[in-house]
Amino acid sequence: MATDYEAVIGLEVHVELKTKSKIFCSCPTTFGGESNTHVCPGCLGLPGVLPVLNRKVVEYAIKAGLALNCEIAEFTKFDRKNYHYPDLPKNYQLSQFDLPICQQGYLEIEINDNQKKIGINRIHMEEDAGKLVHQGDNIARAEYSLVDCNRSSVPLLEIVSEPDMRSAEEARVYLEKLKAILEYLDISDCKMEEGSLRCDANVSIRPRGQRTLGTKTEIKNMNSFRSLQRAVEYEIERQIDAKEAGEPIVQETRGWDEVTGVTLSMRSKEEADDYRYFPEPDLPPLRIDRAWVEELQQQQPELPAARKERFIQDYGLPNYDAEILTNSRALADFYEASCSLYPNPKVVSNWVMGELLHLLNAENLEITQSRVTPERLAEMLQLIDKGTISGKLAKTVLEEMFKTGQPPQAIVQAKGLVQITDESALTIVVDQVLEANPKVVEDYRKGKGKALGFLVGQVMKQTRGQASPEVVNRLLKTRL
């Protein structure tokens, strides 16, 4: 019998903090400026300069730690991580080694209505590296590379989970939840496509029931939730196949290739990792005042879990709706704004979670980029209530609103989408349909209830969806 394997996954997440200035110098952190224009002797690593810590970074790290149920260190310090790479002008990265600012927390995820706690091993502060542009198809074929130091010394938090995840889906859900919490805290833009949220996965497998861990690989280069899930799924399969074929699993870094859908070996781990950490002599250590931590705790905003609970209590939403709506701060804000204008929470939830999210996902847009505003959505829902448009027509109207940003009334008028409730007009169509389908009429009269649906459908088709379904039903029944 084939061995039953279990996957063991831990994630290392790097998140850029949205401070105004960098972590150790006062250059701006703005994304996307002209190359090497947000730089100074400090972040260029020129000799003789001294780093001075940005207090806001420490504040944000504590906020993240509190939201992730961590212990906040009373004493913490920075260390040098020594390595050579062209995007790191100083040849060392200022990071934290043995005394990180936050330790031993957890985050709760939910999969298929089951709650699971994922441990947070640590959160530490560090500086980002610069950005490389390779001249050629990729790094391996590049003749040379170009360096932009704008990102050098942008503040980062590295959030390291315990190896508590057991499937690629759990890993994705964990990252989604972590992103939601960071968004609610308003400490990062969390844009995976711009690199302000980056994720590496440590993956290993072991026969189910075994307690010791298997050899792990580190997977890099995943820049969406979907690619994280795909990459981890692939890697688990690859390791199982290797094990079954009697091949060794090598401890190494592997890169995810989005196009081919495979992970490829980048470098072997043993020789490369010797960072010779030592305490940073240019930065005095930190004593974190308990009163400050307490003050920050008091200021914490409502977090996803609390907001979800409130959505269930106050709006009477099912668990599923509340989970999805609160998993993005912007989406939850949109929902609440809509509800204040159209106070039927379940109807609003159905439209937001159904049609609107569907349209957004199809275009790969965020809710913040939606041309449909809460005001417009509420106006559209009122048109349904007034009987101006049917629910079916409303879908067409919403699509048009989404495309053009026009108000629903204007779309209804311009496209002639007004619902037909005029009985005499509809009677003519109903009669035509009955005449054209004698067989179906007979079926109905013999007791086949389903035949009615077909006839309603035919009338809707003739009227391009504009007939009022209620009126058509009534007319058909009286005639049959």
């Binding site: 110098c25 100074c40 260029l44 806001k56 590379s145 170009l146 005095p284």
Partner: protein
């Protein structure tokens, strides 16, 4: 010998420095002299001294989150051996 040939080789590799056989010999000898001198400190009785992370009694030296003026691009690139279109140019990496 406090530091071996192999350790010097490893150090050179990690720091991306190529050393000739003579240089390896020379630096191993010199580093051993330096480390031996530093070892004099180990004779001190530190059993009653708490481990020290920083030599000065300073804590929480930080600044507020304010943007200042840095270098313009020409200044930033002026010492670069090579630059191109506003970037530092570096030799192929792999």
């Amino acid at each position: 010998m406090i530091i071996s040939h192999e350790q010097v080789e490893t150090m050179a590799f990690l720091n991306q420095i190529e050393l000739s056989a003579e240089e390896k010999e020379q630096y191993t000898a010199q580093l051993n002299v330096i480390l031996k001198y530093a070892r004099i400190l180990e004779q001190l009785d530190t059993s009653q001294v708490a481990p020290m992370i920083h030599v000065l009694p300073l804590y929480n030296v930080w600044r507020e989150d304010e943007v200042g003026v840095g270098l313009d691009r020409e200044q930033a690139l002026q010492n670069a051996p090579e630059s191109e279109e506003g970037y530092f140019k570096v030799p192929r990496i792999l």
